[in-house]
Symmetry: D2
Subunit: 349 residues, 4 copies
């Protein structure tokens, strides 16, 4: 029975606790929150769970094997390193940390100690995103041409990070899971409408070695909520609308055909194809439940999770450089290519 400790019982923490409680093979030992009323709430709901005020006590509790961190991103590095150094496996909220340097040090520490380090890229565990990956990797879409996402609403203006850290992080995590490559350059633009505040509108473009292009549009100041991703391929194209109650994924048999040996360069180069649309049935399993079962399985078998530290770092690298580009009105920035190969999920630690 794996002992679980959760740090942070604010917006997301209650979901983590509820799902750990309902997962076989683990038990929640303690939940840490700085606010006394949050600790009281958790003890009222779950009489067997301790509410603790000091994260150091939780991290050093010998009954705890894995620490889940759902606190503001600026604290992830300190808490995560302390947990790893205390020999605990770690599940950390996204974004993984404030910069690539912090991510690298956490990855190294986990590797040295053979501990599981998992980043809570929840979307990766949704039936919709798993279906998208299945369609990409099976070759149904053909060559991937682009990933284009709009993620806007009237949202909470965060105090410690800008809108791309808050919203684009979801798309970067999805891209890291479904695309065959990682980006090699980023150009981002954006602006703040609150004096002294972080950017509340952001646009990221990412380039790849191939002709894939990716673009993410995020906005905390939109009058309507939109969550729509287009994924274009040479054979088929996907529209993923996360606000649709049932048909979240629509696959269109539409696109162009290229004539490589045209007689007349102008007329014959591009042909158009328009076929059926198909919306596959999706499972209704809660993503977080699937994710936590996967975490427990990785701990039990000593294997890498699908959303490991390398995935977390890949996302943070884009956020960090994207923010830099954004402050220089879109100046393109090359991304370090040394670690752009995909980490070996399900390999031994």
């Amino acid at each position: 029975m794996i002992g679980v400790g959760v740090i942070g019982y604010g917006y997301w923490g209650p979901n983590l606790v509820r799902n750990f409680i309902e997962t076989n093979g683990c038990r929640v030992v303690a939940v840490c929150d700085a606010k006394v009323e949050r600790r009281a709430l958790v003890e009222q709901r779950y009489p067997g769970v301790k509410g603790v005020s000091s994260w150091r006590d939780l991290v050093n509790d010998p009954a705890i094997d894995v620490v889940a961190i759902s606190t503001p991103v600026s604290s992830h590095f300190e808490l995560g390193m302390a947990a790893l150094e205390a020999g605990k496996h770690v599940l950390v909220e996204k974004p993984m940390a404030m910069n690539v340097e912090q991510c690298s040090r956490m990855i190294d520490e986990a590797a040295r100690r053979k501990l599981v380090l998992m980043v809570d890229h929840t979307f990766v565990y949704t039936p919709a995103v798993r279906k998208v990956r299945e369609l990409v990797t099976s070759g149904s879409l053909g060559d991937i041409y682009y990933y284009d996402s709009v993620r806007v609403n009237l949202g909470i203006f965060q105090h410690d990070v800008n809108v791309i850290w808050d919203l684009a992080v979801h798309d970067l995590a999805i891209m890291d899971y479904v695309l065959p490559e990682r980006p090699v350059a980023v150009s981002a633009t954006g602006i703040s409408h609150v004096p002294g505040g972080h950017e509340n509108i952001g646009y990221l473009t990412m380039y790849f070695t191939s002709t894939i292009i990716a673009h993410v549009h995020v906005n905390w100041l939109a009058p309507v909520k939109v969550r729509r991703t287009l994924l274009g391929g040479s054979s088929k194209m996907i529209v993923f609308d996360d606000l649709e109650p049932s048909e979240k994924i629509k696959v269109y048999d539409r696109g162009i055909t290229l004539n490589n040996h045209p007689q007349n360069v102008y007329e014959l180069l591009v042909g158009y194809r328009s076929g059926d649309m198909w919306a596959p049935r999706l499972d209704t399993t809660e993503a977080l439940s699937l994710e936590i079962n996967h975490l427990i399985d990785c701990i039990e078998h000593g294997t890498h999770p699908e959303t490991d530290g390398e995935a977390g770092l890949a996302v943070v690298r884009i956020l960090e450089n994207g923010t830099l580009s954004m402050r220089e009105r879109g100046r393109p920035i090359e991304l370090d290519s040394r670690v752009t190969e995909r980490a070996g999920a399900r390999q031994s630690l």
Copy 2:
């Protein structure tokens, strides 16, 4: 009775001819097209109209007072200059010409000869866009924060220009009409998926002296058609969806309120406001009919049209520099600020 000559009877020319025919105060004298079957078609439909094969004949026809040019953009400068030099007023398709230099020379020529030079920015004459401008200029929206537009579909890959010249041109024309300022810098990204072809996906960001930001997303390779613009202001926000059959414009009483003297910088800076939504009734007049009546009126009274050469040049400046930025992965480019003041529509020539 103003004599009209139309050059180009392909996709858009028939709409021009039909609307000139139905407009009082003018008559269509001749239509020029290189293809014999198009000339036959126009003569069959309109027995009193001459089909001519030489645009020089049309331009020099003394019965013609105004020349409308609906040919590929690469020919706009040559045809437009010839018409102006022959003393004809000119209506030219958008984009006005291939670069700022060509636009400037056309503007100068028209000014010297006191001729009307109008660019066919059709959207400016739609009831929806005129309502948006009315809401902006009346102050209903408050300070403008952003203009964000998505204009994608599975579209014809043009041979002589990229997707921003083909699709973003609509948004740049709308922005030039509704926004209180013109942009001072542009960063654009995009890519071509056809070897040797022009970019078929493009993203433009435009910066202004104030904190307005504008972004346009265009794509010839999308599985679904989207025509949606968000216009955010400090008081209200607009969603303009051109594919809606009736409620094209929705005005949302939503946004944030800034507390300039917060006691606690983190908690009190931003407040949220959520009120009613309102969709004003729009006229159903055809935009092109309104536009051509305006052209005839400008010719009769010797005044500048709302979409004059300066408006056409402002749009081409962004297209030209955006394409440059796009080929350098988003490198920001400053726009010449000397001509950023709005031209005086309805002033004397």
Copy 3:
């Protein structure tokens, strides 16, 4: 070359004339309209076509082989009979006539003279409805359970007929084409909100020998336009939304499964099935073009059209009895079963 005469050049007549003009194998000889400006309009548009003021002259013109009637329904019988008696084939707008008696006499007259009698049930020739029929007749849907349609908008209040004659007629024509049976009873409800006017809201329920049920809701006084049909089967179910620009037909692999030998009558009787959704690509041919080609083909080969007099009569029988039921608050009325068998389309006259 088949000579065509068209009576009525109001709302629909111009569409008929345009399509006859563009159809090979026939030529439009004359168009009759009581209003002089309509006759002038047709002659201006089509110099070779005569505008005539007397329908008797048109009907007796030896150059005319087929008469198309697009006048108010109250005149269909007189005009249709006169044309048949003059030995002309007839295409008549829907509804075919004011009552079953009139329809029967027209059918008999056409049969005696071996003339083609076609009713302009245009929807039957749309790619969407033809796809629906294909799905029904191929067995893809399984047993048909129901047909349910909503056809409402803010519409013109007709002077001579109520809303079911104006709008439900479309659904009755579609049902007659796609369903495997004809109804055996009707119950209808409705009301008029204009003193002395015809009913502007109507609801028709139709019963069949099997457990199919059909229902049509029509309304001239709705704030929004809806054109949506649900077609439920034991294997699959269709949503047909005629206002969708591209995916008009969606096929859902959803439904129930019946357990005929349940152990526990309450728990095991009904199971639920939820699978993929699929939107087949549809042709984009104009329905009226397909319909008129079919008419010419039937005349040339002496065969029954798909929408012959029997189809027209079947629709009118429901309208006539539905109106009767509506005036008695839904009193159910049995439909004469003698002629409920489907007419033999494409059989010899």
Copy 4:
């Protein structure tokens, strides 16, 4: 502190318990369910609440002042009468009981003992429905012309009642709250596709003394979920779409104008009006929370609730007679007019 007992902890019971727990002025004493695992669940979640197996014990518990009944409709009368006879106030699920006779006896019993008898017509307490009533009673809509509702999905086939008892009950409760009159006649049609089962498709038409007409379409066998109500008035019209996440209520300034003294009866009788659309902001309070606070308030002050026994009876009268009509293919049935006046909400018991 009012003591609460809840009978039935299946689908809806947990929502009742949770809301009673969170409401000031009352405490949940006991919850009764026949299944031991449900009683265990309630005790695990709420340590201070007793799980009991006998509803008689609960009804006779002196610590309990009000009994909430969320069991199948066939048990409502027996449980409700027992609670009233034991001197308890009663909140009963909708539909109130199996027939008008049962409802009348419950009303009489509550009246004699001066107890609160409330029916859980939850929709009446939603912000959307309260806004609709406000618009109707303020006269904004003008004279009411019609109420038309579609409430369909792939739903659970109930064992003891047909689809109108399960789904149309919501519309009947809303109509009873928002319309100025109660119906005087009903005609219903429907069918069962499960041998021996209750009707799974139903259509109800209701007539009123004025020219209001109401129609409700319910279906357990639809491939898509629809929850849409049209409410037409002489001045404005409402579309209420309960599946819209934010703009549930849209008010259209559209309709007809009647010319009572036309010169030409055909041309001038009906004029058309098309104006703005407006979507009022709605509160986001949970309906059940508002409802339970209202119940506690009624008990404390000895007043009638808004959804009292008379409202429950009015709904059941239509369900009972609608089912009768449905089995006779729409035969119209007059409704007893003696009790069609609206009960005096908030009057003393």
